[in-house]
């Protein structure tokens, strides 16, 4: 699906801003923050399920952006998903260190799935839809669900077993097979 002109413009502007951040421009970082903090806070809250932790993590994320901006390659990555990856990794790092403190995730058969689905559906009309969404939807339902919970909710192997009510070995094999199939699908794309 071709990207709309507006989306290309937004993407280029954000890439330009990251280039300025890499050069040490504090005001460019402020602009990146203004444009992306709602999105990145969304990532932090979704993964941690803890607003005050997500606040701390959001700060760390922009400090990391300041440090890492020079590694952003605008020809290889989208600026917003590159930023989301920094937020997601930082949040997962926190969650794995504070495993006991995290409340259980949503019921996958109600709130979670409908939310994830609507986000994905909304995206299908969105300009930045990429091959991985088609590949994810092509996975068998169990593998798809496990990978979605892992990616969007930061669920670990044992949390997946608990949420999906299957033995640990089963979730591990769903994840492994799902990842392999995703890779195959993306390579064939």
């Amino acid at each position: 699906m071709p990207e709309s002109r507006g989306a290309v413009l937004r993407r280029d502007e954000l890439s330009d801003l990251l280039a300025s951040v890499a050069a040490g421009d504090r005001r460019a970082l402020a602009s990146v923050y203004d444009r992306t903090s709602a999105k990145l806070f969304g990532v932090c809250v979704r993964i941690t399920r803890d607003h005050s932790a997500a606040e701390d993590i959001l700060q760390q994320v922009y400090i990391k952006v300041w440090d890492k901006a020079e590694r952003f390659e605008r020809d290889l990555a989208s600026p917003i998903t590159w930023l989301c990856a920094i937020a997601r990794n930082t949040a997962i790092d926190w969650v794995r260190k504070h495993a006991a403190a995290r409340p259980l995730p949503f019921d996958p058969d109600t709130a979670h799935d409908s939310e994830a689905m609507s986000a994905l559906e909304a995206l299908s009309e969105h300009d930045s839809r990429t091959a991985i969404f088609d590949c994810l939807e092509a996975l068998p339902p169990n593998q798809q669900k496990a990978i979605r919970l892992a990616f969007f909710d930061g669920s670990s192997h044992s949390e997946l077993a608990h949420i999906l009510k299957v033995p640990l070995g089963t979730t591990k094999s769903w994840i492994r097979r799902g990842l392999l199939q995703l890779r195959g699908c993306l390579q064939n794309d």
């Binding site: 806070f41 998903t81 590159w82 794995r96 939310e115 990616f151 969007f152």
Partner: protein
Amino acid sequence: MTSALTPELDAMAGELALGVLEGEARAKALRMVLANPEFAARVAMWQQRLEPLGSAFSEVSPPAVWRAIEAELDARERNKGVSSLRLWRGSALVSGAIAASLAAVMVLTPPQQATVPPVSMPAATTAIAQLSGEGDVVLAAEFDTRQQLITIRAVTLPSSKLVPELWVLDGAGVPRSLGLIRAGGTTSVTVPDDVRPLLVDGAILAVSLETAEGAPHASPSSTPIATGKIFAI
């Protein structure tokens, strides 16, 4: 010597990138990132593959943390004056040549010590190391081989509720804890007997951020924020 990763390691790289690993499995994978560049590259590849999914995260009205971010950047700028290189240069301990090579050290592979027996630096009584990482993260360490005492100073560390923990990597790249160190100022660390043989010339020290409880930990729970080689002088 580029051997392909085993299917097990290949799968582990994907699982680490996805984030599903926990506990010892996660610690093992994080150690592997440090010790095995091929594995690290595979993890990065998986991260790149999965990254576009991030566009599906919903926005949430964010708290106002911009000022806190600015304050932290300001604090880091103020600390820049005490940069590690200047510290070492100012020290009578180190020659200019060593200072220059120290500044260049950023090691991601374990020391090669397959055939050399780990004799702990017979001639030298002092060894030094500079540990550096992303951004301005720098620690300076001195090792007194007679007293088996490491004196380590955190020059610049990211502000965190977690506590820095010092590690030495054995020949296989597996970290052994030397305990928690202070995030600001100097800490003296007595090296336990069983860790002494690891502190050879060229050995790698690393610092990661950990929770205070349970320290010293059996293994780090996250990637190191700084690493550096020990040099006998």
